[in-house]
């Protein structure tokens, strides 16, 4: 009788230890999704089908390793643009699209630059302006392509 009670007590302690270890594991190593969510302040869904050529550039640049997150840095735009566009001439009818954008802290030297027809690129810029003007410097915005 006493032996059976001792076995039950041991099993209960083992079970509680197991629960504690599992719970501790979750606490110490939260899921990756939680990490990702904490790394940006907002997500915007770029309408690929409305601005396909700019969207194509953004998608390719991110696939090649450029950041999908823009940390808004209005004051850094001029210097970033000087660095990213250095040595890349203008082309009539086209804009030199940069990704990350010059007004993002991630922009500047090494940003991916592609010639994009001006109407597509300026419309995309206007869309970005309408979406992001409300955000203060330092806010981190994640760009996700939307194909709707």
């Amino acid at each position: 009788m006493l032996q059976a009670l001792a076995r039950r007590k041991t099993a209960l302690v083992s079970f509680m230890l197991l629960v504690a270890v599992i719970a501790g594991g979750f606490w110490a190593f939260p899921p990756a999704k939680t990490d990702a969510a904490a790394s940006y302040d907002a997500v915007i869904y770029f309408p690929f089908n409305r601005y396909p050529l700019t969207g194509d550039h953004i998608r390719d640049a991110i696939a090649a390793g450029e950041s999908a997150i823009c940390t808004i840095d209005r004051a850094g735009a001029d210097q970033n643009r000087k660095e990213s566009l250095a040595g890349i001439p203008t082309k009539s009818g086209h804009d030199r699209d940069e990704w990350p954008m010059a007004m993002c802290a991630e922009g500047g030297y090494g940003a991916d630059v592609r010639y994009v027809p001006s109407s597509d690129n300026r419309g995309a810029g206007a869309w970005v302006g309408n979406q992001l003007s409300k955000y203060a410097n330092g806010k981190r915005i994640k760009f996700v392509m939307s194909y709707e």
């Binding site: 419309g123 206007a126 302006g129």
Partner: protein
Amino acid sequence: MKQWPKQELTISYSQLTVYNQETEHPFSDWTDAHIRQGFTWREGAVSFGAIGDERSIIEVAVRKEAAPEPGAIRAIVVPFETGEGGVIVSSILSEAYGYDVPQGSYELWCEIVPAPPEAAGNRTRYLFTFVPCGDPKARIAKRDAELDPGKTLLMVASPAI
């Protein structure tokens, strides 16, 4: 009549926009026709094509009569009906400057004066002049090689939303 202090503005996506303060989504979509004529127009929000994405000078004034700037390479005139809250001049994710232009009907002149190439550090100037007018008309008063407007200017645009 009235002239405000010069301001510096970083231009992005090759556009500057003048809009009534109460406009929720001031930036518009551009078509190829808009590119060729150098601006998009809708009630209360006009975007002008810039000649460079760079730090530039903004000058805003209200005058009884237009006084074209001799050094301008481009001059575009559009109707503009100002609201109660005045107007704002901005670019994409840039500074936004407010001006208490009196409510009314105007011809809005946008003139572009490039920085002299020999003077390092000088900036391109964008002059915005509001001229009171009861019957304002859109027109290209002075065009550079980048503009190729059609016979009829496109006076329709959609907000980029």
